[in-house]
């Protein structure tokens, strides 16, 4: 399946040529979970990574679906 990934905070800097308006189109196996996507993007070891889909924070075990837009954020605590 294919998901569109938008990266926020400083995460975009880890992907050469990343453009915020386009995001990343990522092919991952059907049935993949959030943690699989993070591994695929080599972000699983990145401290403070948070994933949100459709306005909700999704835990690592959360299932992804084809066509989803996935926001990968850096955890913040206020401002």
């Amino acid at each position: 399946m294919r998901v569109n990934v938008k990266l926020f905070g400083t995460l975009g800097q880890r992907f050469q040529g990343y453009r915020q308006e386009d995001g990343l189109n990522v092919e991952i196996p059907d049935g993949a979970r959030v943690k699989d996507l993070l591994v695929h993007l080599e972000l699983s070891g990145f401290k403070g990574c948070v994933v949100a889909v459709a306005g909700r924070i999704v835990k690592p075990a959360g299932l992804l679906e084809n066509g989803m837009t996935v926001h990968i954020l850096q955890a913040g605590a206020g401002g």
Binding site: F8, G9, T10, G12, Q20, E21, K47, G48, V50, A52, A54, G55, R56, I57, K59, H71, L73, Q74, A75, G76, A77, G78, G79
Partner: protein
């Protein structure tokens, strides 16, 4: 340790030892304890019985990083409650270097008279006539003060809004570059300062009388370890230096909690245009500074210097809360307009949050269209000019609601909410409702719990406890002078341990981890006690009805915390 009382009526300045009852206190702990002990709870906030207390944190002026917050306390003319609002910049460190524990301004200058209170390099304070500066904006005033007293000078001042006694008036402080762009914005304390006839406090930065540290070697070690923890924390070491607090635009919109168009939606259409990522890129392209050091001893550098298309300075720092209030709430999605509004607010001396929410309220009431940037600029300019409409707007969102007979006004105890919608972050509903300060995110923001996945923001379970814990933690932090943002390093064992060691080394104490929240609980008790005596009851600890009745898209939730649950939040 010097404790000053300045009688604005008689112009008498008294220097005394710190009274026993206030010993060991600093920052919010000191301002709130003094207000509760010395200010008649039912007094007119703009009358002579109110007092304005300025107190650096207990660690301000030491070598511990990010401890440059100055607390300012009084009875608030905006909320009628006790109030502490704190600001960064350089003044806390300057006061700390002089060994000043607090300055208490009492009484009132004779009508029409205006003064500056100046600390010279020996730490001696005196009142200086300042009628020449009447009506002056804070930028011009700060420039004059630095010209007159030298570049090594910190300024804490009000603009025209404070002089007019407007209840959203801020107190501005200068940053490391001498610009009055840091604010103790909330609660209208600028109006209290104006009512006393005090235009500015000017502090020489060359003081050399910092209070002694009980165990200097241990303090040095702890300070080093704490700085390491701040640098290594992903939020304080990576995200804030890169994007500043504006980095929160993406997460909060991604969670559907960004109050938009006067809190009618939880996601702003086109929010990416005003995100932290877009801001950093724009500043970089124009030759500004996206990672600026705004406050003394700051190693986070969350500040920025926003410049226009020609590369000329507009404002510093463009922060998340202002981007929200002047952008999300009003539907204005261009940084140039938002930055101009930020500069205007700083110069006139009004809270960007209450003012932005007031502008949004006026738009929602049909006075102007959402998204009309020019109209927003003209409205805010009216505050500085002192027009009848400007006076209403400068009294904040609640006053605008009354003016237009419009009941969708997101305020609690008269103070505007912050950039986290309480329907999509139920813990923040508890904080807004129950904080002794009125709606205030800095009193106990639960967003970190949601991002950590520790709590579901849309369900009522666990929210009261989460709000209570953060309110206690923030009350503790606010005593020390530590910046709220740097305080997130305290969430790691290394950071928390180092900070506790620094406190113990400073005071020669043997505090344990449990003593830190105990400090916060003590402060909250003082504040709740004052509010009770001022006539506030649990009936005041409620959000406006529309938060309970109008579901917020995209989650279509209302506030789910019952009154009974709200009443359990701060029972100590």
């Amino acid at each position: 340790m010097k404790f000053l009382r300045v009688n604005m009526g008689s112009r008498e300045v008294t220097v005394e030892e710190v009274p026993q009852a206030y010993m060991g206190l600093g920052g919010r702990g000191l301002t709130s304890t003094v207000v509760n002990a010395e200010v008649p709870p039912t007094c007119d906030p703009l009358g002579p019985e109110n007092k304005l207390i300025v107190a650096p944190g207990v660690l301000s002026g030491t070598s511990l990083v990010n401890t440059s917050r100055v607390s300012i306390g009084a009875k608030s003319p905006l909320t009628g409650t006790i109030k502490e609002s704190n600001a960064g910049g350089t003044v806390a460190a300057a006061l700390g270097h002089m060994g000043i524990t607090a300055v208490i301004f009492e009484g009132q200058a004779p009508a029409g008279e205006l003064f500056i209170f100046r600390f010279d390099e020996n730490g001696d304070g005196s009142l200086v006539p300042a009628s020449a500066y009447k009506g002056m904006g804070t930028y011009a005033l700060a420039e004059k003060m630095l010209e007159t007293y030298g570049k090594k000078t910190s300024v804490l001042c009000i603009g025209p809004a404070g002089e007019q006694g407007l209840t959203a008036a801020s107190i501005q402080t200068t940053d490391v570059d001498g610009r009055p762009c840091r604010a103790a914005g909330r609660g209208g304390l600028g109006a209290v300062m104006g009512a006393k006839g005090l235009k500015a406090i000017v502090v020489d930065q060359r003081g050399k009388s910092t209070d002694a540290i009980a165990n200097p070697e241990a303090f040095k070690e702890a300070a080093k370890a704490f700085a390491k923890a701040v640098k290594e924390h992903p939020f304080t070491g990576q995200m804030l230096p890169a994007l500043g607090t504006a980095g929160m635009v993406a997460p909060v919109n991604s969670m559907g909690a960004f109050p938009t168009l006067n809190a009618t939606k939880g996601v702003m259409e086109g929010w990416e245009k005003i995100s932290g990522e877009a801001l950093a890129q724009l500043i970089q392209e124009r030759g500004g500074n996206p990672s600026h050091m705004g406050c003394a001893q700051c190693i986070v550098h969350c500040s920025n210097e926003f410049v226009d298309k020609e590369g000329q300075y507009v404002t510093s720092s463009l922060e998340y809360e202002t981007i929200w209030s002047m952008g999300g709430m009003t539907g204005i999605d261009d940084f140039d307009t938002i930055a101009k509004l930020d500069h205007l607010c700083d110069d006139i001396g009004v809270d960007t949050m209450d003012t932005g929410v007031a502008v949004a309220g006026a738009m929602d009431a049909g006075y102007k269209n959402f998204g009309d940037g020019q109209a927003a600029i003209e409205m805010v300019e009216e505050i500085g000019k002192g027009t009848p409409f400007g006076k209403v707007l400068g009294n904040g969102a609640a006053a605008i609601g009354k003016h237009f007979n419009h009941n969708r006004v997101p305020v609690v105890k008269g103070q505007a909410i912050a950039a986290y919608d309480p329907r999509a972050m139920q813990g923040n509903a508890v904080t807004y409702a129950t904080s002794p300060m009125g709606a205030d995110h800095t009193a106990g923001n639960v967003v970190g719990e949601y991002m950590a996945g520790a709590l579901d923001p849309l369900k009522p379970d666990g929210q009261v406890e989460a709000s209570r814990n953060t309110q206690v933690a923030m009350a503790s932090v606010d005593c020390t002078g530590l910046c709220l943002l740097a305080s997130f390093a305290l969430t790691t064992p290394e950071g928390a341990g180092a900070f506790l060691n620094a406190m113990n080394a400073k005071f020669g104490a043997q505090m344990g981890p449990e003593d830190i929240p105990a400090m916060g609980i003590r402060v909250l008790k003082e504040e709740l006690d004052f509010n009770r005596k001022a006539g506030f009851t649990s009936a005041d600890d409620r959000l406006p009805r529309f938060f309970y009745e109008e579901p917020l898209a995209p989650h279509n939730k209302v506030v789910l915390i019952s009154d009974e649950e709200m009443d359990q939040a701060l029972t100590f």
